[in-house]
């Protein structure tokens, strides 16, 4: 069955072989090379990898991290900054988490677009890596307990 190795990404370690994105660089940069055979040009892919590098180092990413960091504060009463409370504030934490994800995913998205490229007619969705989702957490009740 062709879809078994493109698993959902709910678990920290997706089962089976992982997504295409996870093994892309192995398919493109590893494997046996035989001198007398030619290889197709991968110029487009390489260019887009470099684009991804720019995204990682961008000020935009830093600002998103900072915003997420500041948001951690805003979710709490302005006076309370103790560490246990910060760690216990699950509702606040999950907001920050989403922000970190957004910043971190911009890289992957760029590469995914690169691979998708001009070849959209066969994208049936199975192979497209999904956005990671945190399991639902009972944020509000946890937070009440902490703040009580």
């Amino acid at each position: 069955m062709t879809t078994t190795m493109y698993a959902d990404e709910v678990a920290p370690c997706p089962p089976r072989a992982g997504t295409l994105y996870d093994v892309l660089e192995l398919i493109l940069d590893r494997g046996m090379v035989i001198d007398v055979f030619v290889r197709v040009s991968l110029v487009g892919i390489e260019i887009l990898k470099i684009d991804a590098r720019i995204v990682v180092a961008s000020v935009d990413t830093y600002l998103r991290f900072a915003e997420a960091c500041n948001r951690l504060d805003l979710e709490r009463d302005s006076g309370s900054t103790t560490i246990p409370e910060l760690l216990g504030g699950r509702a606040a934490k999950s907001v920050g988490k989403r922000k970190v994800r957004q910043a971190a995913e911009s890289v992957g998205d760029t590469v995914r677009k690169a691979v998708g490229g001009d070849d959209d007619e066969d994208d049936d969705g199975n192979e497209r890596p999904k956005k990671r989702r945190a399991p639902a957490r009972d944020g509000s009740s946890r937070r009440r307990r902490v703040e009580a």
Binding site: D22, F37, V38, F65, E67, V100, A104, G117
Partner: protein, 249 residues
């Protein structure tokens, strides 16, 4: 390119059958066939005109190799390998037969697991709580909000996330190495603090995965681990001297 172009997927031992139902690159998908020469066989198909690294073709390549790996030892070719015709494939197989046989027997019973470590996705609160520098910069932003202060804070968060992941990455590498026959560093992947492949006995694949999973659970605040496998042995077929044999593996 001429009309006879042959896309080469893999080299396998002679006598091994094609996986039923497997198809090749191109649209419509090309039919797979075998080119035999002595004791080794190449798995090939017609090469589609204007082949490029498109998602569908990357997946087809990977899928053929994955299916072959399920049935026996495989020398996976790098994506996009094209020979001018069957004759040149046969000539190559004849020339390098001994070397191919040696690598196939070296890989027998082994599969590749690839491990990537990324900064933890859920660790912002932990970073703020545990990293003095981040806490200090966050206080500075609160006292004096502004663009520069935010950039510095974000940069510090980003650096802390990477550093914490790299530290934990070194630990997991240390834990996993004894479970592998060999290790091989993967190509640099942006956003990853660790990318390494392991040649693992197929029978030890489950315990390899379990070890990764346990480590991932224990170090959620430091890194996210992504393990792929069992895979075709992409990283263990080149003769480049970058592989690291593992003593006692």
């Amino acid at each position: 390119m001429s009309g006879n172009d042959v896309y080469v997927y893999a080299i396998i031992p002679a006598g091994q059958a094609l996986p039923p139902g497997a198809v090749g690159v191109g649209s419509p998908a090309a039919a797979l066939r075998l080119v035999d020469e002595g004791r080794v066989t190449a798995v090939v198909s017609a090469a589609p005109p204007q082949l490029r690294a498109r998602r569908r073709d990357l997946m087809a390549h990977q899928e053929v190799l994955q299916r072959l790996t399920d049935t026996g030892p495989v020398l996976p070719m790098r994506f996009g390998t094209v020979a001018p015709d069957d004759e040149s494939v046969r000539a190559q197989l004849a020339r390098s037969q001994a070397e191919h046989r040696a690598t196939l027997s070296h890989l027998r019973g082994g599969v590749e697991f690839n491990l990537k470590a990324l900064p933890a996705q859920d660790a912002l609160a932990a970073v703020v709580a545990e990293e003095k520098n981040v806490r200090r910069l966050r206080e500075a932003v609160r006292r004096r909000p502004g663009y520069e202060a935010n950039v510095r804070l974000g940069e510090a968060v980003s650096a802390a996330l990477s550093r914490r992941a790299a530290e934990a990455g070194r630990k997991i590498l240390h834990e996993l190495t004894p479970l592998a026959r060999e290790t091989a560093p993967g190509p640099e992947v942006h956003g990853c603090v660790l990318n390494v492949s392991f040649l693992v006995d197929r029978s030890r694949g489950d315990s390899f995965r379990t070890t990764v999973q346990r480590f991932a659970d224990r170090h959620r605040d430091h890194l996210e681990l992504r393990v792929a496998g069992p895979l075709p042995c992409y990283s263990f077929v080149s003769s480049r001297p970058q592989r690291t044999p593992v003593a006692g593996g």
